[in-house]
């Protein structure tokens, strides 16, 4: 923990001679890291458009993108791969950001953004949609999932913030877990009593960014953007909170408001991602830890890092999933765990952890 968390802006500290050089070095490393991530994200976007179950020559990919003539390959590029890439970027960035916020607000390294009741709320919404209205298309799921996610998050937040001092890390984590399990129990009960629901649900449950209908993207885009702005403006408050609540208060931070904004951002981001893709669990949990290796504990760097990293990771995992089991595909949630978990474990073993 050598991160200077001077809340009033670290510039003053940087003028100091011996520490100043180290801080400049760290800043350079962070900037290089961001640049590398942007390049990685662009490369994964290209791969995601080029690579797929069907091999399409590069020239045709190009013409399909910029001079479509309506051939089958053009349709695949425009209707399937490009939307899929966009969804991957949105979902990955949303989950990465939400994970960093979640771990910051609960001060708990294993707090997945899903435990706020969001993922399970969305799952229950989707299952209710299948069970009562026999909805089986993605467009039909989306608003049920989103509504469920919001209600779940609202319930957790209400329970976590009863009493003075608003929600605390421990109450948030425990209330979130309790509500999640409760919702999961109801979902399981519905799924187990109805085979039709079960059959649709088990495929939704794995999580996939292969959208069948590109029209869902503009529907959730505003929510994701609002969530991202909220998340990034939360960085200063999180930096103060990581010094402990009392210190943050005495520095003049409005802890409750910071918490509320953070939870709202998590709910909107994860809710949108789950509504489109189903529960992709792993990203929000792992990405912040990996990002912390490069940025240290400063959330002003950590948040953008986590967002970019999440997007790149989801896309790469999805591309791999298209390759490994040709001609069929392995869903992105599974691939993320298969590829991401070993990498993450190796990282945890190798490095000195930045503690929350």
């Amino acid at each position: 923990m050598s991160g200077s968390l001077a809340v009033g802006g670290p510039r003053a500290a940087e003028q100091a001679a011996p520490g100043g050089a180290r801080l400049r070095e760290r800043r350079r490393r962070r900037l290089i890291g961001i640049a590398v991530l942007v390049v990685a994200l662009l490369v994964s976007c290209v791969l995601s458009v080029v690579v797929g179950a069907k091999t399409i020559p590069l020239a045709e990919v190009w013409s399909g993108l910029f001079a479509p003539t309506g051939t089958e390959n053009d349709l695949i590029i425009r209707e399937l791969r490009v939307p899929r890439t966009i969804v991957g970027v949105l979902a990955g960035a949303a989950l990465g950001l939400a994970g960093a916020l979640m771990q910051g607000h609960t001060r708990n390294p294993i707090a997945d953004p899903g435990i706020l009741g969001i993922t399970q709320g969305a799952a229950l919404g989707v299952v209710l949609a299948i069970y009562t209205f026999s909805v089986t298309t993605l467009v039909g799921f989306i608003w049920f999932g989103f509504a469920g996610a919001m209600l779940g998050a609202l319930a957790v937040f209400a329970i976590g913030s009863i009493g003075r001092g608003g929600p605390t890390p421990v109450t948030l984590a425990l209330a979130g877990t309790a509500i999640s399990f409760l919702l999961q129990a109801i979902t399981s009960a519905l799924v187990l009593t109805d085979q039709q629901t079960m059959d649709t649900y088990r495929f939704w449950k794995v999580g996939s960014i292969a959208v069948t209908d590109p029209s869902v993207i503009p529907q959730v885009l505003p929510f994701v953007l609002i969530g991202m702005v909220l998340a990034l403006t939360n960085a200063g408050g999180l930096n103060a909170l990581s010094l402990g609540e009392d210190v943050a208060r005495s520095l003049g931070h409005r802890v409750e408001w910071s918490r509320r904004a953070g939870i709202a951002a998590i709910a909107v981001l994860v809710g949108s991602a789950v509504a489109i893709c189903g529960p992709i669990g792993f990203v929000g949990l792992i990405v912040p830890h990996v990002a912390r290796f490069f940025t240290g504990a400063d959330y002003r760097w950590l948040l953008p890092f986590a967002g970019l990293l999440g997007a790149a990771l989801v896309l790469l995992a999805d591309v791999l999933g298209r390759i490994v089991a040709r001609p069929s595909e392995v869903q992105v949630g599974v691939m993320l765990a298969m590829v991401g978990a070993p990498f993450f474990i190796a990282l945890v073993r190798r490095r000195k952890m930045v503690r929350l």
Binding site: Q184, R202, M338, A341
Partner: protein
Amino acid sequence: MTQVVESGVAGRRPARLGPFSGVLRWRPLVALLGGLVLLLAVFVLDVGLGEYQISPVEVLQTLVGGGDRAQQIIVLELRLPRALTALLVGAALGLSGAIMQTLARNPLASPDMLGITWGAGTAATTVIVLGGTAGSLAGALADYGLPLVALAGGLLTGIAVYGLAYRRGVDSYRLVLVGVGVSALAGNATYWLLTVGDVNEAGRALVWLTGSLNARGWEHVVPTAIALCALVPLTLIGAHVLGALQFDDDTVRGLGIRTDLTRGVLLLAAVVLASIATAAAGPIQFVALATPQIALRLAHTSRPPLLSSMVFGAALVVGADVISRTAFGSLELPVGIVTAILGAPYLIYLLIRRYREVRA
């Protein structure tokens, strides 16, 4: 014959009984006794309720060898083994969760979070889905095959987590993170397996994954009981250092405790307990996570009390079994669903109540 000596510390009175001495605190003791009474009550209910009603008095009479022939058959052959399985599984999960939460210094740490139950679940799902008929095999394979596979899966996962987290000792923070990684791996593998098989196998696997006490007989009770009788006393004896292990690692070393050895042994005990419970009844989630937290809040201790966590875990699973067998008519919900529906509101209530106290 306790002889109370006045002490300077409020709320911690020393108690001495012959050569033994300790600290007597009323609140944890009351919580434990209350839990035991609750456990006895739900246990008698679990044995008594069903298609053929038996009154609590008759249940107790039958258990000590009285009752008529029909009651004896129903109680001793059918309901008692199932209720005992519920009790043992709940106790094992409660104890396992209490140890893990203390070791990891994290209220979210539980066998589910550290991948143990998921490892067992992946192994069992593999057998059910890929084994074709293995999941529906009658006789010895269904009775012993699936539990054994689950047990092996849980143990292997536990050993893998510990081995991967080991690097010049095991740091609890690293342990938790590695556990989460392994857990994600096993969990996603399970969900993927569910999409591979056909919908009937997926349904059967899902029932198992939710945790079910359906058709549990003496053949499930005996191995579980033997394992627990051996493990629980050992764990409780080994756990006298748990109080010190809740501090950070440097402090623990400073107190002269061999951190890695004690942590390794206690963690192994917790893993074995959770694996045995999962093998007997499937991965009943939430019990290991919630009951230590509930016990901690009722007993007002600084860390989850072990005995109370066991008793409340057992009471939760047995109580859930009563409801899952009788509340929905002929439809029997898996017990794992009911544990969450029973336990979650109570944990939430305790969270809320504490904040009211703070506010008052």
